[in-house]
Every structure is written in C-alpha cells, then in structure tokens.
Symmetry: D2
Subunit: 376 residues, 4 copies
C-alpha cells in the first residue's frame, strides 16, 4: 500500500497541537490578599466537578483555571453517587484526582484528593478531602461512607447547607445527624459560601459548633464561563498555613485558620481579618494641617485587591471626615479632613473610627478599625 | 434500614443544580455583522473538539459557548483517529454530535454533524461535515474514509493547511493528493484561518481551486479560556444563506458564499464584503460648507461590530481629508474636511477614495470604497 | 535684526496644533434609547459650567464632551452671581454661550442659551434657558431677575431642590416663593436628578405642580473626569421632540414631554416609558413547548442601552419563570419556562406579569409590563 | 426690601459645591515603575497648557489630573506668545503657575514653574522650566527670551522637534541656532516624545548632543478626554531623583538621569532601564526538570505596570523556549522549556538570551537580558 498512515507522526503532531491548546494568554493573575505575620494566605477552592461526575470539563481544566485565577490549590470533589455521564465516562472515583494531580505538578498547583458524598438531607452533601481512596466511600449507607473518611484521616465539611433544593426555605438547618457527625469527630467544616450564595445562618452554625469556614465555587461549567475575567471573582477559601504544602494546609484547616473571600467580602475571625487590613492599608501622609490654609487631605493607599468599604462609626466631635469611603484596590484615595465649624483641633495625634463593612467577623458584625492621624 | 438514600430525590435535587449551572450571566451577545441583500449572514464555527477526542469539555459546552458568542451554529469535529482519553471515555464517533444536538435544540443553535479525518500530510487533517454516520469514516485508509464522506453526501474541507506541525516552514503546500480529492469532488473547502493563524497562501489556494473559505477556532479548551469576553474574538465563518436552516447553510457552502471573520479582519469575495460595508456605514451629514466658516466636519456612523480601518487612496487634488481613520464599532467618527491651501472646491458632489485595510478580497487586496460628499 | 519672529507662521502652526488637540479618539457614542412613535428621543444636559463662572473648562469643551457622549444638545448655565475667577476671566454673561454656539454648529450640537440664577433658599438656584440676553438677569433682586426671564420668553427650572447645602436635611422643600413663581408662570420645570443625586420628593413635587422633569449633570470638572467612559453615565434629560431643533425642544419642554435617565434608571410618565420599553425589547421565539421534551427556553433581545431589571409580579399559577431577570443592554437573555409540578399548560397564548424596577413612573411606582408567550 | 440676597451664604453654599466637584471617584492610580537602587523613579509631565494660553482647562485641573494619573509633578508651560483667549482671560504669564501651585500643595504634587517660548523654526518651541519670573521671557527676540532663562537659572528643552507644522517632512532638524543654544549652555534637553509621537531622530540628537530625554503630553484638552482611563497612557518623563523634591528633580535633569515612558515603551540609558527590568521581573521557580517527566514550566512574575515584550536572541543549541513572550503587567506568565529533540541538557545553570523589544536604549537598540535557569 503506497500511502500509509503513520500513527507515530500523527500523535507527535497532535501532541504539539495539545501543547498549544493553552498557549494563548496563558497568564496567572495573583490574588492580592497579603500574607499575615506567621502565615501564608493560601487561596483554595475545595469543591469542583469534572466529567467524572456531572461537571462539564476534563480534570486538567480545573488545574489550569486555578493556576490562571491565582489559586494555590484545589480539591476536585466529584459526586460518588451521581454520574449522569456514566454511559460514556468510566466509573473510577479516583480517576479525576489522578489526572489533575499530574497537571498540578507541572503548574505548581496543590491538588487535594476529594469526593462529594451526595445524600438526601440529612445529612445532605458533604465533601471529604485529604482522602486516600475515594472508592471506599462508594457505599450504600452514608454513615458507612463517612466512617470511611475517618479511617482515611480525611477532613469532612458540609456543602451548601442553605441550598434551596434540599432546604426549600433557604435556611441552613442543623439536624441530629450533624450533631452525630460532630461528636464522632467526622464533621469539621462548613461552606458558608457556595458559588454566589452566602448563608449567614451557616456562618452562625460554624461559630456555634467550632467548624472551619469554607467558600467554594462548586463549579460544574468552565470557570471562566461562570466567572468571566473582569467580572465578579469565584469564591475562595483563604487558608492561613505555615507553608505552601498539603500537610500545612491540612493543619491549618484543623486549626480553623481560614477566611472566606466571596463577592468582594472577606469573612472570618477578627484575628485573621485585622492583619489583612493592616498589611493592605497605609496612610501615606498622616499629618494634616487643620489650621490655616495648608494641606487638608490625607492620602490612603490600599495595596490589596479588596475594595475596603469604610463607614464612619459614630461621629467625631471636632473633625469633618468622609462618612463613607471605598478604598479601591491598588488605588490611593483622598480623605478631606477639616475642623468642624467653630471647633479647634489641638495639635497631636487623633483617631478616626470606621467599620469595614465588607470585612465580616460574624453575621452582622463588621471589623472595626481606626485611622491614626496627626494634627500639625 | 432506617436511613435510606433516595435516588429519586437526589437526582431531582442535582437536576436543579445542573439547571443552575449555567444560570449566572447567561446572555447571548449578537455578532454585529449585518445581513446583505438576499442573504442572512449566519455565523458558524465548523471545527470544535470535546472529550470524545482530545478536547477538554463536554459537548453541551460547545453549544452553550456558541449561543453566548452569538453564533448561529457549529460543527463538533472530534478526531476519528486520535482519542487520548479513550481509557476513560467511550469510543463512539457519533456520540458528541448526539449530545450536542439536543442542547442545540433548546438554544436554537444549528448543530451540524462532523468528524475530523486526522492523517499525516498529505492529505493532512480534513473535516467532513453534514455527515450521516461518523463511524463509517473510521477506517485505515484515508482514501476510504474520504470516499465514505462522499457516499454520505458530506462537505469536506482541509484544516489548517499551514500548520507548522505538518508544514514546518509554515507554507500551505498543495499536494497531488489534494488535486486527486478535488477532481473526485470530495474536497470543497479550506481553512484560511485556524485559531489565531491566517494562512495567506491557503487563501490564494482557495481562489486558485475554487474552494469555499473557512475560519474556525479548532477549540480544545473551554472557549472563554482561550477567548475571554472583552479580548479578541474567536474566528467565525460567515455563511450567506437564504434561510437559517442546515439545508440552506449547506447550499451556501456549496455555492462558496462564505466570508471569514478573524482578528478584526473580514476576508472574502468583493461581492460579499462590499454590501457588508454598505449596510454598516452611513455618512450622517454628507453636506460640507467648504467655503467660509461653516461646518467642516462630516460624521460617519458605523453600526456594525467591525472596526473598519480606512486609508486614503492616492490624494485628493483639492481636499484635505484624514489619511487614516478607524470607524470604531457602533461609534460615529468625525472627518474634518477642508479645501487645500489655494484651492477652491466647486459646489456639488465629490468623492473621497479609501481602501478598507481590514476588508480583504484576496491576499494583499483590500476593498476599495468611496465616500460621497457634497460641497455646499 | 536677522531672526524675526513671524506671528503669521506661528499662528498657522498653532492652529494646526489646536486642530489636532481633539484628534485622538474623537468618536461619538450614541445613547441607545430609541425614538417613540411620533417623537424623537433627544438627549440633553441643561446645566453646565465653564470658567466663565466656577467651572473648570473652556466652553468648547462642553460641546465636545456632549458630542462624544451622544447628546443632541446642551445649555451652558454659568452663575450670574458667582464668578470666583473674575480676577482672570472677563465678566460677560453672554460669552460662554457665544463661544459654545460656534463649536456646536461645527459638531451639530444644539446649544441653548442659559444662565444660573444663584440665590439663597428660597427660591434657591434656578436655571433660565432659551434666554436672549443673560446680562439682563444680573440684577440684585431675584424677583427682578426672574421677571427678566419672562420678558425673554425663557424657560425656568429649579435646580437641585434637595441639595444639602441649601437644605441640610436633604428634603426638597417647597416655599411660598415657589408657588409665587408658579403662579406667575415663570417656574415650569424641576431637576429631580442633579449629578448623581435623585430627589424622590422633588419628583413628587413635579407631579403635584405639573412641572417638567429634568436630570442634569451640573458639571464643573471635565466631564470625563467625573464620568469616565466605561463607568456610570452622566445624567440626561430625554426630550421627546417632533424635530431636532431648538424650537421643537422648547415646545416639548413646555408640553412636559421629558423623561430623565440617570444611574441606569429611566423616570417619567408611563406614556413615555412604555413605548421606550416596547421599542427596545423583543421576544425572539415566543412559542414554547411546555409539554414533553422540546424547547423550554425563550430568548429576549434588548436592543437599547438600558439594562431593564424585571421582577415578576405575583406568581403564575401554572408556570415557572424567572422571578428576577436583567435584560442586559444589547444582549439576548434566556428565560427558562416550565409547567409547575402537577400542572398542565393549555396550548395557546399566555402572559407573564413583570414590573421593570428601573423604569419609574412616579416615586415608588415602577412600570408594569407583560411578556406575551404561546404554549405549543 | 424684604428679600435680600446674602452673598455670604451663597458663597458658602457654592464653596461646598466646589468642594464636591472632584468628589466622585477621586482616586490616584500609581504608575507601577519601580525605583532603582539609589534613586526614586519620579513621574513627570513637563509640558501642559491651560486657558492662560490655548489650553482648555483651568490650571487646577492639570494638578488633579496629575494626581489621579499617579504623577509626582508637572510643569504648566503656557505659551508666552500665543494667547487666543486673551479677550477673555487676563495676560499674566505667572498666573497659571500660581493657581496650580496651591492645588499642588494640597495634593502633594510638585508644580514646577514653566513657560513655552513659541517661535518659528529655528529654534522652534522651547520650554523653560524652573523659572522664577515668566514675564521676563515675554520679549520680542527669542535670543533675549532664552538669555532670560539663563539668568533665572532655568532648564530649557526643545519641544516636539519633529512636529510636522514646523518640519513638514517629519524630521527633527538640528539648526545652527541649536548649536548656538547648546554652546551657550542654555539648551539642555529635548522631547523625544510629544503626545503620541516618538521622534527617533530626536532621540539620536539627544545622544549626539548629550541632551536630557523628555516625553511630555503637551495637553491642551482635558487629560482624560485625550487619554481615557483604560486606554493608552499619557507620556511620562521618569526622573531618577535622590529625593522627591523640586531641587532633586532639577539635579537629576542636569545629570541627564531620565527615561521616557510612552506607548508602552521605556526609552533611556541602559544603566537606567536594566535596573527597572531587574526590579520588576522575577523567575519564581528557576529549576526545571529537563529529563524525564517532571516539571517543564517556569513561572515568571512581572510586578511592574510595563508589558515587557521579550524576543529570543539567536537560538539555543539545546533548549526549546518561547521565541516571543509578553510579560503582562502584574501577571505571572509561563515559559515551557524542553530539551531539543536528540539533545541532552547537563544539570546545572544555563541562561536564555532575550531582547526586550520595548525597552529601548537608543534608536533601534533594545535592551538585552538573560534569564537564568537551572536544569535539575
């Protein structure tokens, strides 16, 4: 036969094509949330799907998306019980992790092994991460599945507790089964954000039961279809870890050192949010001449990617200052300060009291901050 | 057993979840390239991959992407010979079409059945579209595969003829095998654009051999990862069809009524490009007062989404007019017109000669246009 | 003297420079709010300042900005009583109009002669437009100034009635003096929007006293400093005029045929807002297959530049449809429609009731609309 | 008279209004070009116009624009000889500086006193900066005017030497008069960029005659009309000064420690450009596993605002690396590295040779850089 199709050449050619698949605009945009003293602020998404359950992308896509979005790591958590594509895609609960892990090595993305235990409420859907073998969880009884996570020393958190498909009134309802899982030291975390939904009552449950906070995307579609670059950003769990390793991430989760970042809001314990604000915001020229005609403006630089929304607390007796200011990301904003009519400001230091409306320590409880200035 | 996992409820719940998967920002952006007298300007991408060959998305994603991007239709053209995921994904060459077709019905996207015949050069990679059964093409000999397309009355075009993996010097080389396919009336079209690459020599081959022009994305990744909204747009084959039906599209392809849109350029026959320009561009106030102190500005409105790049041809003897103007999409731009120093412009109509640098009739041959004004 | 400075050459050279001052990106972006049956929807800003009072730009800038922003016309309304730059800029209350008018002729922008009568409350600040001689208004008594507007057959409206500098509690307070001006047929309009402020109580005053609605920018800075392209848009008064002439605009103001567009909201009489919605929104495929597995999606195209925010009124007995949808400008959005669980939808036409939250007929009273579909 | 207009209240009210004129979106965007060892990289625009010559804005606008655009300082350089608005604006050559200086104090913008000496060619237009009294320059003879700059110990540079109004063929022609000014130690700098024009031959003149490089906007319009935020950026002269003071800026100009930033290009001496690149670019993981299946990607972080355009010099014998890469501002980009077919890379350090196409040391002479990696 004269013309013969050479598989070898073909595969080489296609491999080149594949090599180019991601070539255009392959850039990573760091998430500008600073480290805090003692801890790195690692960014994670611990809830993702692929075609190995009901997601719409190949596992490597989740790694590439994470790299581009500035994440440090992900967990792919395909459903164990729900696989609508199983006529076409093999049933192997460990497979999406295996594929993603290799891609993660190349891009320096930490890929954590996970699975979603997908049950009726209670207990609803739970993610096990830091698993060793997902197949062991594919059993009939949810109790057996969760016991298997414990045997593997995994970390389990409750997904979307206020999801209307399982909780039609939208509340995050705590069942006896959750108490049972808590007491068995299986349930250790809770999503207070899933996709674009924030569950304030789940946030309160986390505080009541000492659960680690999570914000995850639960992406099924390609990430940049749901969260196009330039629009709102996918939710992120910020893990305050000693090192950028899987072990250190697990230690941080067990120690509940997480905050969540979603819809422009940072939520978490005050002792984690305050240093983020302090690392991010600097008053460039704190000295203001409040008498006479000199400079009356203060310039404040926000080096982070978070738009801090400041609102004055109470009102100063003597000083006019902006009641509402947004410290736009990466920008320097202007505060115009003046003495109130008929008041005199003594020379020396003084403070202005603000709350940061989108730094939230507990439901309804924003972070209070002070700006320190000096009258000259 | 007290706690029983109810598959029914679960699936219902997940179905709701899936239902929501695409819910956010689910909007279609029309491609503002106007119809021309007698024909609709339908927008197609005839070269796409899914996990059923080496693509990275589920077939429904290709339909959703097409809908959002303002396309009228697509062909999914998974490789017949190359399926790197076959350990995990079933080998069924008709399957990606079946899945996509159903999604297409819901979103009113025309899904054309296709496959990529993936061979060494010559003849290289060829897409068959309007196929009836892709499996019949999965044979050892490329001649047999292409004969099978003919039996199915399919339309065949040559993919990325200047692809460096098969043509290291980047030229689009025409082999005896292509002549053979042409003479057998199998090969009828050619990609002059694949992804972000334009092959000027393939464009010339198309003109020499009367082949239909194609510009396709050849997407493997999620579309919005490679072409983020707001950046450059995926390549599109514009099909000038009598109706918005698959049959009418096929008739137009056979009649070579296509133009290609890529990287801000429109390329195709003059008789197709000229009416696009004419439908898009209007001189709002063609009367200019070239004597005295009256209006000297002409406002030109471009209602299309194409940024027409005008460059003056030659130079007017009497009139100063802009040498280079971009008619930005959707905008009205200003031409300042004046009599040249020492010249007088007689009252009455006059014309300014421009070429449209990014409307390309043949390699190196832009469309010439005239702006008609009137001196008053 | 050998080297002599030639004024002639210099001025020619500079004139060329000036000619180029606006050369870059000199484009006009139409405001996509459609005409309605019988009337053109002309876009105006009737309240603007220049260096001839306390504005920061030369009058021609106001015309260029208006042209770029897609306006049909403006009024420059420099303060008669407040001219902080008078040590450097001549006091001539007609001058900014004269300069702007000539620029307006070149760019086809209607420039209406105006002045701001700038007094303590009551009556506060009032704009006279369609003036003949601004100098006649520069008198000590505000009553005399306003009588002068009447003699000139001008149109007078009340500026920023809720401005906190004159109304510290932010309410738009109606004084006896306003009644006096109303009864003398001097006061005929009111700003319900000034800059980024909407005064709901001024909107109610307009309805109570049959005043023409205005939304104006009151710009002092360069427009694109306060309203950068791509951000929120300057407020606009939409005048529904028979023709695009100053006379026709005046007739429309006297007939109270205006709506205001500000912050993404359109406010005005129902008979003006409803046709805008109708001209803008089209259901592309109103036929839905609510039985079986056919298409369940409806595509709705919004050709205007307004993002209509739809909210379902009540709830349909039989049909699931989106409760909240934003019809993004220029986009096609998807409505997924289905029969409610256990319900059957008879074939034939049916309607879905929505309110358009940002089309506001009166304070607290959005426009109600119906989408007409057909079950097949 | 019962109703009396209170000037006091009015002015107070208007002052509040003025106070608010700039209130919206009043934010400063730093220009992310780093300091270099020993010197601050101060950003200046030394060529600006106001209504006191033929500019279209009040002087305070130039300060506000500079602050928002991240500049450290400006010079306002109104024409001494050309004042088309003199019928309306007073002729006082020191006035625009006086007004701007006060605004500069409030916003911490260094305002340098300047004037444009506006003559036919030769010598053309020259800017004197660090002047003491502009009025002394308003004399008939250009020689007298320039001698006056010397008496004031000012710094003089030649504006837009390739401006087509004075040099119709677009070349920057050096006249005997320029030699005269050079020898008299009056002429010390030259604009190689004015607005959007780069004059390569003026760049060469600067190198030939030891002149300080300048890139200035020469703005007449509002800055954000000509350079809308998000588009291309106004040209900037980068002054490498020991401190952020006017004195230190002057010392740096005299020592020729400037670079220019325009149209995404940085131009200047190699010893200034190289440390900017070094301060900006970091190879995050320089160790690559070129044998076997380990990581083959290198991640490179560009913390500056400049998009460095790298192009490989020559070609490595053994290593495949990207031929063209743009290090996008603020992003991390991926280099895929591999051994060439049939080659082996010994373990240990190796370098890749690139040129940075948009860092330009002299006309046609880009900066050469090396990326240091290590094979493991």
């Amino acid at each position: 036969m004269k013309v013969k199709w050479s598989l070898f050449t073909l595969v080489a050619a296609i491999a080149l094509l594949e090599f180019n698949a991601f070539s255009q605009q392959r850039a990573r945009t760091p998430i500008a949330i600073p480290d805090i003293p003692g801890f790195k602020a690692l960014k994670f998404d611990f809830h993702l799907h692929t075609v190995f359950s009901d997601g719409l992308v190949w596992p490597t896509v989740r790694v590439e998306e994470a790299w581009r979005d500035g994440l440090d790591g992900i967990a792919i958590t395909d459903h164990l019980e729900y696989q609508p594509f199983k006529a076409d895609v093999s049933t192997n609960h460990n497979r999406s992790f295996e594929i993603a892990r290799r891609a993660g090595e190349d891009l320096d993305i930490l890929v954590i092994k996970g699975s979603e235990i997908t049950r009726d409420m209670p207990p609803g859907h739970l993610n096990g991460i830091f698993l060793k073998d997902s197949t062991a969880l594919a059993v009939t009884s949810w109790r057996d599945a969760l016991d298997a996570t414990k045997k593997q020393d995994a970390f389990v958190f409750w997904n979307h507790p206020g999801w209307t498909a399982q909780s039609p009134d939208g509340t995050s309802k705590w069942y006896a089964e959750h108490t049972e899982l808590l007491e068995k030291e299986i349930l250790k975390g809770i999503e207070i954000v899933n996709g674009r939904d924030y569950y304030a009552d789940a946030h309160q449950l986390a505080l009541d039961h000492n659960l680690t906070l999570f914000a995850n995307s639960d992406l099924h579609s390609p990430a940049h279809m749901d969260y196009p670059p330039g629009g709102d950003f996918r939710p992120v769990t910020i893990v305050f870890a000693r090192e950028r390793t899987a072990e250190s991430v697990k230690e941080a989760l067990l120690a509940r050192r997480t905050a969540v970042y979603s819809g422009g809001r940072l939520m978490g314990a005050e002792e984690l949010l305050r240093p983020i604000f302090q690392q991010s915001v600097e008053v460039l020229n704190p000295k203001v001449r409040l008498q006479g005609s000199g400079r009356r403006t203060v310039q404040i630089h926000n080096t982070s990617g978070v738009a801090f929304e400041l609102e004055m607390r109470g009102s100063s007796d003597n000083v006019n200052a902006p009641r509402q200011v947004t410290l736009a990301p990466g920008k320097i904003v202007l505060f115009t300060i003046s003495a109130k009519s008929g008041k005199e400001i003594p020379k020396g230091r003084f403070k202005l009291d603000y709350r940061v409306k989108n730094l939230i320590c507990a439901p309804g409880q924003p972070l209070n901050v002070q700006l320190e200035l000096e009258a000259i």
